[in-house]
């Protein structure tokens, strides 16, 4: 008997044939990443959870439209992106009103909890597009080409958003006087 890891493509193939259990295994592999991506994008726990459920339901309903199972991660995040932006567009006025106050702290010498708050604050001050670029690159490890597919925009736009976001984050999290260079 030969054991091998059940890959996502196997689960996708079975799920396409109507095996709900196989799809549930697939969901269990991706739900945490999708939830955290949505949580950091929409910044509301209940919204992120509701959106996660919607994402996986839509993915199941459209699984037969996925041409290449190897592209499942980018395809799944594309669905998540669309769901999140539908909500963000609906809630935009409120989101602007509840923007977090500006902080001027440096990350050097901060305690873990302070660091977490500083990072959340810094991410919260980015625009939705910039924050999403950081989430996809830094937290999800997608390549620029994959990010362009997920966001449905050119690679140059992806790079521009990410680089601007990094400059802004750097000002808060690694200011000149607290930088690594001594």
């Amino acid at each position: 008997m030969i054991f091998r890891e059940v890959e996502d493509r196997d689960l996708i193939a079975k799920a396409r044939r109507g095996h709900v259990d196989a799809y549930n295994v697939l969901v269990s592999r991706w739900e945490k990443r999708i939830f955290n991506y949505l949580l950091r994008l929409v910044r509301q726990r209940e919204d992120a959870l509701d959106l996660s459920q919607d994402v996986f339901l839509k993915a199941y309903q459209n699984l037969k439209k996925l041409d290449d199972p190897a592209k499942f991660p980018a395809w799944l995040f594309r669905i998540a992106h669309n769901e999140a932006y539908s909500l963000l567009r609906k809630n935009r006025p409120e989101a602007e009103l509840t923007a977090e106050p500006r902080m001027a702290e440096a990350s050097a010498g901060l305690f873990p909890i302070e660091m977490t708050l500083a990072v959340r604050g810094a991410l919260g001050r980015l625009s939705d597009d910039q924050r999403e670029a950081v989430l996809l690159k830094v937290y999800q490890g997608f390549k620029f080409e994959e990010m362009a597919e997920i966001l449905a925009c050119p690679v140059s736009t992806v790079k521009s958003r990410l680089y601007t976001a990094l400059d802004l984050l750097k000002q808060t999290l690694a200011p000149v006087n607290a930088g690594g260079a001594e």
Binding site: V20, Y23, S28, T116, V138, L166, L173, A174, A181
Partner: protein
């Protein structure tokens, strides 16, 4: 910084190996780029400190048997079985008609195709009516069960959320209190130092 090196692409692992070597060689000899890269790495480290949260409620789907086709529906959709049933019904109808019809002076010609159509239409109507009624009942039952389950889950989640928010609120209050104490101590020390004046 006037160098044309893409430090950000390097910092986010987007450069191929040969280009990474070029950047590393450059950074060794360029103070400003080295400082810039240090700041980018510090930023990435800070971002990496944000840990993933566990999903509060696992997501799973179920195959609902209510919506799976029943045996009679399967049979209804099965070509050979339906053909056999139609033929049997047609034969029964012809026999019944032969025994029951009034004997008249002249036998009327009856088209078997017409009879078959009528019988099929009647059978279809009855079966569809039964299917519809049973489906409605099954769906109503399933919806009621789902609503009851959802209401219970909602109450549970609401309770858990309230508890979590209360714990978080207390934690925040404690943090603020600690920060205020620390600030007061610092201010007191500063005031004492100011009153004492410079040490000669």
């Amino acid at each position: 910084m006037s160098c044309s090196i893409d430090l950000k692409a390097y910092a986010v692992d987007e450069l191929p190996k040969n280009e990474r070597g070029v950047v590393e060689d450059h950074v060794r000899g360029c103070q400003s780029c080295r400082e810039e890269l240090d700041r980018l790495n510090l930023t990435r480290s800070a971002l990496a400190s944000l840990e993933d949260e566990e999903i509060p409620r696992r997501i799973a789907f179920v195959s609902d048997r209510v919506f799976e086709p029943r045996w009679w529906r399967t049979m209804w959709r099965s070509g050979p079985a339906m053909g056999f049933a139609s033929a049997a019904l047609l034969a029964a109808a012809i026999l019944a008609h032969g025994f029951a019809r009034p004997v008249g002076p002249a036998a009327q010609f009856v088209d078997p195709a017409q009879i078959e159509q009528r019988v099929e239409a009647q059978v279809s109507a009855r079966v569809e009516a039964q299917v519809s009624a049973r489906m409605d009942a099954a769906v109503a039952k399933a919806v009621n069960e789902a609503q009851a389950k959802q209401a219970a889950e909602f109450a549970k989640v609401l309770n858990a959320t309230e508890n979590r928010l209360e714990v978080q609120r207390r934690s925040d209050l404690a943090t603020v209190q600690q920060a205020a104490d620390y600030y007061r101590k610092q201010m007191a020390q500063f005031l004492v130092a100011s009153n004492e004046g410079p040490v000669r």
